[in-house]
Symmetry: C2
Amino acid sequence: MHTSNTPAFSLLVPPDAAALKQVQKQISAWVHTTPVMTSEQINARVGQKIWFKCENLQKIGAFKYRGASAALSLISGEDLQRGVTTHSSGNHAQALAKAARERGIPAWIVMPENAPAVKMAAVKGYGAEIITCEATQAAREATLLEVQSRTGAVFIHPYNDYRVIAGQATAALEFLEHAPPLDSLLAPVGGGGLLSGTALACHYFSPQTRVIGCEPAGADDAFRSFQLKTRLPSESPHTMADGLLTGLGELTFEIILKYVSEIATVSEAAIVEAMHLIWERMKLVVEPSGAVPLAALLEKRIADPGEHIGIILSGGNVDLGHLPWNR
Amino acid sequence: MHTSNTPAFSLLVPPDAAALKQVQKQISAWVHTTPVMTSEQINARVGQKIWFKCENLQKIGAFKYRGASAALSLISGEDLQRGVTTHSSGNHAQALAKAARERGIPAWIVMPENAPAVKMAAVKGYGAEIITCEATQAAREATLLEVQSRTGAVFIHPYNDYRVIAGQATAALEFLEHAPPLDSLLAPVGGGGLLSGTALACHYFSPQTRVIGCEPAGADDAFRSFQLKTRLPSESPHTMADGLLTGLGELTFEIILKYVSEIATVSEAAIVEAMHLIWERMKLVVEPSGAVPLAALLEKRIADPGEHIGIILSGGNVDLGHLPWNR
């Protein structure tokens, strides 16, 4: 029974303006308020004014910590004590592991047995238990179900969950508070958690801002889904932006179709150039996925971005020993 | 004749507390107030609490922009119009070039003919005129004198100038305002502009903070000078920290002897480890020189740094194609 004064958060309909604000407040003590930065030289290079929201400086080095924190803040105390679980070999795994540890609850992370050792080590470093499985979707899901039934842990999907979407939306909420009015706001799109959250935030709090998803041309399922208005799977994606390999979820796609203005695709060469520019000029470590929106501006792949542009630098988790300009 | 209400800035004695505050105010519109950041993981690694002052996020990617801005703000209008000049192949050259361009005055930079093309391009990119000379100290000085007599430009030394020292001190002034009380404050030492400014700032505004200079063992002239209380030249220095090759100046050494508690030296391996940690954990691009203070903590080269430690991340200008962990 829901007895407090806070409105209940629905798992069944997209979060409304009040729900986003509620989540922002609930996670404010857990997440970093990340800085907004600018670069005169990058502005001169693209001929527009850009504000960057530095989610690479978020805990675990990516915006994913917001979604994980939001989910945990919306689970009731008793359920929470049983712990949480997910399947992920990326930033969501680290985010959920760390968010769980900060609250002193257990986390079980299902990872394919061929996941990079460095990613497994990071998740273990945050104190989560890793359960490996075969590298197939079927094995992942079966293993996850087994963990759930054995432990009673709550499943937190990496993106197809309104709690997670609301958490990712808080990056844009903060951004809108700390930047001047934006003509457009660009975010990378993989599973769509960040993009759908950003779209909801702008819809409610800055409706004049066009929200634009940015995607590698080698993993353009969101672009094609958006054109066809039918959700397509991500098949044989090929890009260095390893955070954007996933296909959209049902829930994220529905929001994106409704509130996103445009999806732009970019070349791998432009991703490298954008990433190098951000490292060199802004002194910030961003991962390839985080450089995709700037790549779209460099390649002029967006019809009408306007004069004042916001970009979410989604993350900075990259193998420093294998940088794309050294290959 | 000095007629305004601001006290005159003396070029002959070290700046006092009022002079530092005056300079901070005068340059506040020209420089970035850089963020102070922390990393739980680095704190856990060293077992202390560290606050990092991110001067790698300063304009031109280094604290040097503060010193150049301070010097320009202290030159009278008529002299300023004739322009400025210096000899430098490092961050000071870029800093002076950009600071001059922002005020619409000319800058002539004397650089050795063997200076890296990328550094010359950066200085040219800021609109300064480069005058090349033979790579000897005598040729540098002769060329500089020739430029001065031809143009009437004011010479701004990279560090041995109280205006520049006062400008570099503003990094510590801001730091003390934005961090909790610090037991010690660590800065790298090359020519000594940053370290002497930091020492003055703490002496006046946080006397309980021990100021500690950090230097590569392969370029330990400041360490040896400090022990002997006699200023020694930097002879055949060998370190990847290319910002710290220079010897101390007369003016910086005098302040350092008086107000610095200790100078610590570090190995090249520790510099690489510290730099990698900052890139990986903080998602910040720092140059080797900027990583030297953290290296001193990793190697436990400081007798009693206390619990609350400040570190100035001095700069982030590094060749991204040649990173030390890829060599």
